[in-house]
C-alpha cells in the first residue's frame, strides 16, 4: 500500500483561539506540530511573529492561519474550539475542505438551534429534540466528516494554561477517535478518559452551565456551603433528567464530564457562567454583565433553549425555569430562591 502522506507527519489543527482553544493548542503542541485557525489577522500575526495570544506566550510549535483550506489539507485531526453562537458559521466555512478521512473533535459546551427556515425561537410555541443540535450533531449535519468526537470535563482554561494537573474526556462512537485524542492530548499532567456516549458527554458539559450560573448567584447572595451542597445535588438530578430526555445516558452524567465538571464550575470564580450568576446576585443587569465580558457564557443561551424544550416536552425543570425568569423576566433572585425552597421535591435520588 503506497500513500502520499505517510512519509511526512501531519499537523494537528485547532480552530478558534479563545482561552480554551489556546490551552488545548498548547497541550497538543507538546507532542505535535499544531496549526491554529483564527479569524482576526492581527491575532494570526501575533501568533506567528511573537508566539503569543493576546499577550500570553504560547508554544513555538504552533503556527497560525486564516485559511481553512490550508488547515484542512495539512491536518487529519482537527479540534474545533469555537463558541456555540459562531459554531455553525465556522463549520460551514470549513465544510468544503473537510473529507471523510478527517477526524473532528470539538470542545464546545453549548447547543445550537435547528429551526425550520425563517423561524426564530420566539416565534416557535415550543421546540422538541429535533430543533436542538449538540455540536457533534452540527458537524454531522454540515460536513461529510463522520468520525466525530468531543472534549469535555473540568477543564478551566486558565488552569490548563498554567500546566496544572487535570483530566478530560474524549467521547466518540468511534474507538479510533478516542485513541487518537488520547495519543495527541495525553501528557503526564493531563489525563484523558474515553467514553462512547458522545451525546451524553456533550450534554453533561452543556447542562452543567445552568447549575453553574445558579451556584454563582448563591455565592453572590452570600449564602453558605449548605446551600451550595443543596444546589449541586438537586442540580445533578435536574441535569440527569434533562440529559436523559435529550438522549444521553445516566452513566455519562455521573462521570468526569458530568459531576466532575459540575463541581469544578460551581466552585470557581474562573468560570464565566459562575461569574454571570455572581454578578446578577450583586444587583447587576444581564445586558451590563454581557457587555463587560470578553468571552461567551454558554449557560445563558442554554437556559433559553432548555426552557423552551422543557415546555414543549411537558417536563418540569425547576432550577432552569426559575433561572430563566431571573435572566429574562426580571424575577428577583431572592424570590426564585424562595420558590425553589418551597418546591415539593420529595425523593432524594430517583434516577438510579
Amino acid at each position: 500500500m503506497t500513500s502520499k502522506s505517510s512519509s511526512k507527519e501531519k499537523s494537528v489543527g485547532v480552530v478558534g483561539m479563545g482561552s480554551f482553544g489556546t490551552a488545548i493548542a498548547n497541550i497538543l503542541a507538546e507532542k505535535s506540530k499544531v496549526i491554529v485557525f483564527a479569524r482576526r489577522s492581527e491575532l494570526v500575526d501575533e501568533i506567528n511573529h511573537h508566539h503569543q495570544v493576546d499577550g500570553l506566550p504560547i508554544h513555538e510549535n504552533i503556527v497560525g492561519t486564516q485559511d481553512p483550506e490550508m488547515l484542512c489539507e495539512s491536518c487529519d485531526t482537527i479540534f474545533f474550539m469555537v463558541p456555540s453562537s459562531a459554531f455553525q458559521e465556522v463549520i460551514r466555512s470549513f465544510s468544503p475542505y473537510l473529507y471523510p478521512y478527517h477526524l473532528v473533535i470539538h470542545g464546545t459546551k453549548g447547543l445550537c438551534l435547528n429551526l425550520p427556515e425563517g423561524k426564530t425561537l420566539s416565534e416557535m410555541k415550543s421546540i422538541n429534540r429535533e430543533n436542538i443540535l449538540t455540536m457533534s450533531e452540527v458537524i454531522l449535519k454540515e460536513t461529510v466528516a463522520i468520525r466525530v468526537g468531543c472534549l469535555a470535563g473540568p477543564n478551566l482554561a486558565r488552569e490548563l494554561y498554567l500546566g496544572q494537573p487535570a483530566a478530560t474526556v474524549v467521547a466518540s462512537k468511534y474507538n479510533e477517535v478516542i485513541l487518537e485524542g488520547q495519543r495527541l492530548l495525553r501528557t503526564d499532567k493531563f489525563q484523558v478518559y474515553g467514553n462512547s456516549d458522545i451525546v451524553g458527554v456533550e450534554l453533561s458539559g452543556v447542562l452543567k452551565n445552568i447549575i453553574a450560573i445558579a451556584a454563582g448567584a448563591l455565592a453572590g447572595l452570600g449564602l453558605g456551603e449548605n446551600a451550595k451542597g443543596l444546589l449541586v445535588s438537586r442540580g445533578m438530578v435536574e441535569l440527569v433528567y434533562l440529559g436523559n430526555a435529550l438522549g444521553g445516558s445516566i452513566k455519562s452524567f455521573i462521570g468526569l464530564a458530568g459531576i466532575g465538571d459540575l463541581v469544578t464550575t460551581c466552585n470557581s470564580t474562573l468560570s464565566r457562567n459562575y461569574t454571570v450568576g455572581y454578578r446578577l446576585a450583586k444587583g447587576e443587569k444581564l445586558p451590563e454583565i454581557l457587555e463587560s465580558m470578553d468571552e461567551v457564557a454558554e449557560g445563558i443561551n442554554t437556559v433559553r433553549l432548555i426552557k423552551s424544550f422543557v415546555e414543549g416536552r411537558g417536563m418540569r425543570a425547576p432550577i432552569t425555569e426559575n433561572l430563566y425568569k431571573v435572566l429574562f423576566e426580571d424575577l428577583k433572585i431572592e424570590e426564585a430562591l424562595q420558590y425553589l425552597m418551597k418546591y415539593p421535591f420529595s425523593v432524594d435520588v430517583d434516577f438510579l
Binding site: 502522506s5 487529519d76 478521512y101
Partner: protein, 544 residues
C-alpha cells in the same frame, strides 16, 4: 455470478477457510474458548435436530454431529495428547463444520436453469394474466396484457442497470410477503439485470414450488434456526466473499417479513455489515476504481394485500404483547395456497408497485450513474476516504460496525422516501386512527379486543378524515418524504372506494367494508391495524 457457479468448488472452500480464520480471531486463538464454542455449537445443533426438524434437512445430519461429538469427547479426555495435538484436532473439527455449512449455504446455481426459469416465470405469468383479464381461457396466448400492467416498476431503473455493469450491486428490499422473493426475481429479469444471489430463508425451500424457483434464481440458503457462531460467521463470510467476487446480491435487511405491517425501522445488521466489509476489502486490495465499488440499492415493495397478514399480525401481537416463546411458522405453506393466491391475484387485479431507490455507496451517500459518490452538498467524494486513517486503508471492526449502523439508518430513511402510498393504506390508516380516537382510554391491546360489531364510522366523517390525511400526504410528497401512487389523484370518493375495495381484498374477513347504510365497518380489527401500520413513521397520527 456465472463465473461463480463455475468456480463453485473453490469458492465454497475459500468461504470455509476464511470463516475458520475469523472464528479463530473471535476466539482469540484461545484453544479453550474454541473448544467451548464447538461444544456449544454441537449442543445447539443436536437440540435443533431433535426439536425442530424440517423436510429440507439433509439425512446425514445426525451422523455428522455424532462424529463431531465423539471426536470432541475423545480429544478432551485423552490425556496422552499434547496441547498442540489437541489444537490440531479442534481445528480439523472446526474445518469440517465450516466446510459443511459453506456447502449448505452455497447455491446450486446452474446458468442454463436460470435462463429457462426466468423465461418460464415471465412467460407463465403473462399467459395467466391474459387468460384472466382479456377473454377468458381462450386468450391464453394473447399478448394484450403483460405483467408490467399489474406490477409497476418505478424509480431509478436505468441507474441500477448501468451500475450493475460497472460495480457490484447489493439490493435491499422491504419484506412483507413470501411472494417478495419471487417478485424480485421477476423484476431483476424484467429490468434486464444480470443474475443476483439471494439470501433466502431455508424454510422456503420446504415448499416445492419455491425451492424450484429459488434454486434456479440463485438463492443461497439462510437457516434462521442455526444461531451458533460457526454458522453465522460462515454465512457472513459467504456474503462478503461473493460481493468481493463481484457477484450482485440481494438480502432482505429486515431479516424476516415485517410482522406488524410497519416498514422496517430496525435492520438486521449482520448481512449488511458484509457489504461494508467487502467494500473495505476491495480498497485494501488496491481496487480504487468503480469495478471494486459496492452500491446499495433500497427497494420498496407496496401491496394492497398481503396473503400472510392475518398470521403475521397475530404473531406480532403475541410477541410484543407477552413475551411468549415464538416458533417459526408458515401460513404461506403449501403450493396449493400459493397457486390459489396467484390465480386470485391475476383474476381480480390487485396492484403491486416496486420502487427502485437511488443507489448509495456503503456509507449511504448517493451515487451518480457512473458510480461516483456525492455528499449532501453535491461535492464529489471518495468512499475510500472513510476507511483511511493516517493515510492508509485500515481494518477497524468497531468503525465498520458504526458504519453499518449508519448505513442501516440511511436505508430505513430511503425506504420511507420510496414508499408509495396506495388508496388502501390511506383508508386503513384513517379508519384505525378514528377508532383509536373514539376509544382514547384503551391501550392497544384492549382496543384490538373490542367486538367488531360495535364499531362503525359515519361515512361523512370518515371522508373528512381521509381528506385531511391525504392533504398531509401530498404535503409530504412535495417535501420528498414519500411517494404517492397515480390512482390517488382522483376524487376523494373514488379513492376511498378504490381503497375499500382493495385493502386486504382476499382475506376471509375484510379489514374494512362499507355497510348497507353506507357507513364504514371492520370485520377484523387486527388486520385493519396491520394495514394501517404501513403509514407508521410519518407522524400522520398527530393529525388526530
Amino acid at each position: 455470478m456465472v463465473k461463480l457457479s463455475k468456480n463453485r468448488k473453490n469458492f465454497v472452500k475459500t468461504v470455509a477457510e476464511n470463516s475458520k480464520k475469523s472464528i479463530l480471531e473471535i476466539t482469540g486463538n484461545n484453544i479453550d474458548l474454541l473448544k467451548e464454542e464447538l461444544e456449544t455449537t454441537l449442543y445447539r445443533e443436536k437440540l435443533r435436530i431433535k426439536q425442530n426438524p424440517w423436510a429440507v434437512d439433509p439425512d446425514d445430519e445426525k451422523d455428522f454431529w455424532r462424529k463431531v461429538r465423539s471426536s470432541l469427547v475423545q480429544t478432551s479426555t485423552d490425556n496422552s495428547l499434547t496441547k498442540t495435538q489437541k489444537k490440531k484436532i479442534y481445528l480439523e473439527i472446526l474445518n469440517d463444520i465450516t466446510m459443511r455449512y459453506s456447502e449448505e449455504i452455497a447455491s446450486n446455481f446452474v446458468h442454463t436453469h436460470y435462463k429457462v426459469t426466468r423465461r418460464i416465470v415471465t412467460f407463465g405469468f403473462a399467459r395467466l394474466l391474459n387468460a384472466a383479464r382479456v377473454k377468458g381461457i381462450k386468450s391464453i396466448f394473447s399478448n394484450q396484457y403483460t405483467l408490467q400492467d399489474k406490477i409497476q416498476i418505478v424509480g431509478e431503473t436505468d441507474q441500477i442497470r448501468e451500475l450493475a455493469s460497472k460495480g457490484t450491486i447489493v439490493m435491499v428490499p422491504t419484506h412483507f410477503s413470501n411472494l417478495d422473493s419471487i417478485l424480485i426475481g421477476w423484476i431483476i429479469s424484467v429490468l434486464g439485470l444480470p443474475p443476483f444471489i439471494y439470501g433466502a430463508g431455508l424454510n422456503l425451500f420446504n415448499i416445492g414450488i419455491f425451492a424450484y424457483f429459488m434454486n434456479a434464481l440463485g438463492a443461497y440458503k439462510v437457516d434462521r434456526r442455526k444461531k451458533n457462531l460457526p454458522y453465522l460467521e460462515t454465512l457472513k463470510t459467504y456474503s462478503s466473499e461473493a460481493i468481493q467476487f463481484g457477484v450482485h446480491s440481494l438480502f432482505f435487511p429486515g431479516g424476516t417479513r415485517s410482522r406488524s405491517g410497519v416498514i422496517e425501522k430496525k435492520l438486521k445488521l449482520g448481512l449488511l455489515s458484509t457489504a461494508v466489509e467487502a467494500q473495505r476489502a476491495n480498497y485494501q486490495k488496491g481496487i480504487k476504481d468503480v469495478n471494486g465499488k459496492v452500491f446499495i440499492v433500497p427497494v420498496t415493495i407496496n401491496y394492497h394485500f398481503v396473503l400472510e397478514a392475518p398470521g403475521l399480525i397475530q404473531e406480532h401481537l403475541s410477541i410484543v404483547g407477552q413475551e411468549r416463546y415464538y416458533k417459526e411458522r408458515d401460513e404461506f405453506s403449501t403450493s396449493y395456497k400459493i397457486s390459489k393466491f396467484l390465480v386470485k391475484f391475476f383474476t381480480k387485479g390487485s396492484d403491486i408497485s416496486v420502487s427502485i431507490g437511488k443507489a448509495m455507496d456503503v456509507l449511504g451517500n448517493y451515487v451518480d450513474n457512473s458510480g461516483n459518490s456525492f455528499d449532501r452538498h453535491g461535492r464529489k467524494i471518495d468512499t475510500r476516504d472513510y476507511f483511511i486513517s493516517n493515510g492508509n486503508v485500515t481494518v477497524d471492526p468497531q468503525r465498520e460496525e458504526e458504519y453499518t449502523y449508519h448505513l442501516g439508518k440511511r436505508i430505513v430513511e430511503e425506504f420511507h422516501i420510496n414508499n408509495r402510498v396506495f388508496s388502501s393504506h390511506l383508508v386503513a390508516f384513517t379508519a384505525f386512527q378514528m377508532i383509536k380516537q373514539d376509544n382514547k382510554k384503551l391501550d392497544l391491546y384492549s382496543l384490538l379486543r373490542l367486538p367488531e360489531e360495535d364499531i362503525f364510522l359515519v361515512y361523512v366523517e370518515f371522508r373528512e378524515a381521509c381528506k385531511m390525511v391525504l392533504d398531509k400526504i401530498f404535503e409530504l410528497e412535495a417535501q420528498g418524504k414519500l411517494q404517492v401512487a397515480p390512482h390517488m389523484e382522483q376524487d376523494i370518493d373514488v379513492i376511498i372506494d378504490h381503497g375499500l375495495e382493495n385493502v386486504g381484498m382476499y382475506h376471509a374477513k375484510r379489514p374494512l367494508i362499507k355497510n348497507r347504510n353506507g357507513n364504514i365497518e371492520t370485520q377484523e380489527l387486527t388486520l385493519l391495524y396491520y394495514y394501517h401500520n404501513r403509514l407508521d413513521g410519518y407522524d400522520l397520527e398527530k393529525l388526530f
